[in-house]
Every structure is written in structure tokens, then in C-alpha cells.
Amino acid sequence: MTKGYGDMRNGTMRIALFGANSGIAVATARAFAKTGARFVLVGRRAEPLEALAADLVVRGAKEAAVHVADLADLDALPTVAAGAWERLGGLDLALIAHGTLPDQTLLERDAVAARQAIEINFISPALLANALAPLFEGGRSGTIAVVSSVAGERGRRSNYVYGAAKGGLIRFLEGLRHRLAASGVQVLDIRPGFVSTAMTAHLKQGGPLWATPDRVADDIVRAVEKRRAVLHTPWFWAIIMAIVTALPRPIFHRTKF
């Protein structure tokens, strides 16, 4: 058993959540709280973070500290990363879960919005992972887990700006994993499909492809435990995306999704 998961069982796991109020982060934190983990919760607004901290403590967390920071402020990211690391005297797991789901048609018209979408969905999580890397590397253990998306696997008309940002992130994590392999640090790329969260609340939900955050969280806990590199969650997205990426271009161009 690896160090990170052993710690999880002992209830001494130290976890930082970036974008702590995202639906996936909350569900994952709750799953780890039951094991008695300690948390530092990073996000933009204090009030929901405080509410989450109280919730995690009732669920069994030994500690849940709140750290208010705007992750869109790219210059501040190294300080944010170091602060989270210091707060618990080191980390066993960093989950980077912030992001937005922008409206593609708006981004096609609005260059500022398009830039912001790329910054928050690619540059910010990438730089944050980069800032955390030497800290984990020094400790020669632990997990950097980042939520990307199945949307990053092939550019599609309906969301190619978001998809490109996530695609960039996927490639970035691939390289970071290569770099950290020697030090034994796990880099986990989490690629969810459709998840029912506040981020997707405006979409028509339901149907077999939609998953609850709980289900995704269970998969994440298991992927951390098994030290996986890439997680499609729920599992059937691995198959769907294998097909989508293999579709010959002439056929692909006739689809609208």
C-alpha cells in the first residue's frame, strides 16, 4: 500500500481542495472526511467555504481550515499553493477542481470572455499544479489530482474553447506526470463526463449519461488509492471517448454534438 492511501486509512491524510465548493470537490471531500482527514479549503467566497468546513467536521474531518483566494488571479497562485502546503505542514493530496463551463456561442463573439475561459480552465489549474509540484517532489510522495474533462479529448463545435483549455490541461498533466514519475508523486487526471452540479444546473439533466457527484467522488477515491494516471468517470466515458476520438473526420463532421 502506498503512503497516500495508508495515511487515508489511518485518518491522517492532509488534503487541499482548490475550488473547494465545486460539486465534485465537495463530494470528494465528504468521502475523505469519513476517514478523519484534515483539510484546507481554498475558494473565492468565505461563507460557503465556512459552511463546507463545518459540514466536513460533522462528517468526521479532524480539521477543516478555510483559505479565501481568487484562483483567477494568476500571479497569486504560487503563494496560494505554498500557503495551502504550509497550513497543514505538507499535503498528501491536492485536488484542483476549479473551472467554469462557459457558453460557447458567447465566446465566439467575445474575445475577453474567451480569454478568461482559457485562463480559468487551463492556465490557472496548470500553474497551480506547477507550483505544487516541487513541494510534492521534495516529499517524494502524495497525489496531485486535477479535474479536466472528456471535452478535452477532441475539439467539437459545441464547446471547442472549453475543450481546448481542458485539452491543454490534459497534455500539461501528461508532461508533469512524466517529470514527477521518478519522485513517486502521483499525477491524476480526472476526466468526468456529465455531472449534475451547480455548474451544469442550466443544462437539461437526467438520462443514463448523467452522473451524481457522489459517484464521481467514489471513483476519485479509488483512483487515488490505486495510483491511477487517468480516470474516466463514470467508466463508460472511456469507451465513448475511444469511439469519439477514433471517428474519421468526414463522419465526425456530420455530427453536431
Binding site: 465528504r30 469519513k34 461563507e47 459552511a51 463545518a54 459540514d55 460533522v58 462528517r59 437539461k204 457522489d214
Partner: protein, 457 residues
Amino acid sequence: MTDIRDAWTTEVASWGGVARPRHLVLRPGTRAEARAIVADDSRLPLLAHGCGRSYGDVALNPEGRLVQMTGLDRFIAFDRDTGLLTCEAGVRLADILDAVCRPEPDGGGWFLPVSPGTRFVTVAGAIANDVHGKNHHGFGTFGRHVAAIELARSDGSVETITPESHPDLFAATIGGLGLTGLILSATIRLRRVAGTALEAEDIRFDDLDAFFALADGSEAWEYTAAWIDCLATGTATGRGIFSRARHAPGRAAVPPALRPRKAVPLTPPVSLVGGLSLKAFNALYWRKLGLRERVLKTGSYEPVFYPLDAIGSWNRLYGPKGFYQFQCVVPPGADGRAAIAEMLRVIAQSGQGSMLAVLKTFGDLPSPGLLSFPKPGITLALDFPNRGPETLALLARLEAVTIEAEGRIYPAKDSCMSAASFTRGYPAKADFQRWIDPAFSSAFARRVGLIGEGSRA
């Protein structure tokens, strides 16, 4: 928030699936958002919706706004010394069991004081229907264990109400069917048990008299209820299996999984619960104990409390037309017993069996709510596949027998009782009406005359 045009296309079904009206569904994620919804002076009436485990229409508000509360699922505080748990309105009993009611090394721990037959209900839903469990004779209703409620009203107020601070509004809100305002959070008193596992005994009995004898003789058992074979006729009328259980000191049981392992993936085009399958089910269940008269087991509480939770969305088995549930309580004593016997006769005669007929005696602990359903006596619950007019006729007969016996029908399960039956069954109706928040409404409230049709445009 949701686009109105999309929202209007949202059909929300009751658990029984008989009604699926359209609503404007709002999904607050925080208490602040929920407050803002209540304070927003829209002309559309409001109603909260929890897990939608009510069979009939208490959680429906056709053509109105429906506030889906399951996004408010945070725990706020738990005092491990007193057992006082404060949480948001949409926290489910399953979440409390899973996160808080975990066995301690000695096998004991904190436990839900009262739980209905499914753990997939919200705390606020349990308050609004003042639900009961198999331990009613010892612990009364859920509302007895509520210490405080944070309630938002459409006049813009948000107050924490307790039995001391606001006795009248508190009594109206417990069992208040969601009509007194929006519950944002609540504090409930968990109880200490010496073992989270149960010692459970199933006993076969041959008729109603035997049931009452067993119920009377089971004072030492905390949880009791009986399953009745409602297809049995003649001298076998009222035969069934009596189940009783109590906590096994020092024995631990871990909480059941949060997601059912099996689920019914979609609604079949026709009901799978029909004459033949019902007969088979009842016959099988009756033989569940094999040749033995009684079976004693110690183990998890899940099969005892939540047999139906093992299969997700089991209500879909009834097909697109759905099913009706009927639950009544009639006073103790000879008249009540006669009324139950009469109902079982009517059902067997109609040939419209029920998969699950449950009989239980309520104790005399008073319920704190003005409209709480439980009162001392005998309660019978059954469900019937929806076969149209013949099913409605049967339900009307059962309703008549109930009211005749000075009993009443449980709103959480009801889809058809008349305004007159409600008024006779719930003498505190007029007292209650003073506390209805004018912005709130429900299909049930309009049907039984709690709110006049068109009182709010």
C-alpha cells in the same frame, strides 16, 4: 437560475406516479439563495420539495414554483455530548446514518430517534409530514425530537423557532405539510443506543386477533410492525407476519450503502405489479419463514427498517399509470379493530391486492404538530396499482370506513381524500390555517380545502 421556458417543461411526479404536473423548479444551493426565493414576491405560489417520497400530492404544486431542497445538504454542527445535530433542510436521513450514526468501538453510538420505512427522505420532509417509524409506541413521531427549526416566511422574516420561543408556529410547522414557510435548517436530538445492530424476530400469525395479541405482548420490543396477506379471505383474513426488533447491546452494524446496489432503470410500459404477480408475491411472503413459526436474527438494521431501499426506484415497477397508497389510523379498541377487519374484507373482495400491507399499533405519546397524522390506535397502510375508476372506488370505500370509525388518513400517502374527510379527521384544521404562509400552496392543500381555490391568483 433556470430559464423559465425550460423550467415550465419540468414534470415532477409524486412517488406514486399518479400525478406528474408541471412546475417552475428552483434549485437553491445555499440557505441565502433559498431565503431570496421566499422573499421574492412572485405571483406564483411556492412549495418546498424534498426527496419526493410522499406518495400523493403534498409535495406537488402544479403551475407553481417548486423549491427543490436537496441542494441544501450540509451539516452545520453536531454535539457529540448531547446528540444535538443541526443540519440544512435537504440533508437526508440516509446521510445522517452514514456520516454521524457510525458505530463506536463498543458497538453503540448515536442513532436516529425515529425513521420512516425509507432513509431517502430529507430532514425537512420528515418534519413537514411529522413522520413515524416502527417505534411509535416508544418514541412518538419525528417531530418530538426536533429542538429547533429555522424557518423563512414570505414576509421576509427568517427565525429560529423552538417549542418555547414560538409554540404556535412550531406546532403548525411540525406536520405542517410545507405550508407554513420554507424550512432552511433544523436541529434534531439524536438518541444514544447501546448497539447499532438489531435483534429481530419474525413471527407468523393466523388472524387479526393473533396480531393484536402479539402487539400487546411486545412491549419489550422497541420496533414493531406486521405484514398482512391481504389476499387471504374467510378465517384466514388478517393472517401475516409480525416483526419486532430491538437494539442488540454491544453489537455494531455499519450504515447501509448510500446508493442502492440494484435499481429499476426505467419505467416499463405496463405495470409489473398485477393480479398474478401479487398473488405470487403474497403467497411467497407468507411462506418466507418456511415451516417455522418464528425466526430470530441479529444483524444490520437495513432489512428491518428499509426493505424497499435495497432496490432503487422500485416505484417504477407499477408502470406509467403509477399506484396509490392508502394509510389510515383508527382508534384503539373494539370499534377500531372492527374497522380494520372490515377494510381487509373490502380489499380481499375487490380482488385488488396490495404488495405491502402493513399493520401497526400507535402508542399514546402525543404528536407535537397540529396536523400530525399519528394518534393512539391502529394504522393500516397498503398500496394499489392504479387501475382507474375501480381503484378509486375501492379507496373511497376505505376512506368511508376510516372516517366512520373516527379515524383519519395520512396526507403523505394520500391522493384522493375529500375535503370533508380531511376536516373530520383533523379537528385542528382551523387553528392551523391561521399559520399558513400566504405565498405557499400545494395540490393537496387546494384539494382538501386548507387553501381556498383561487385565494391567490
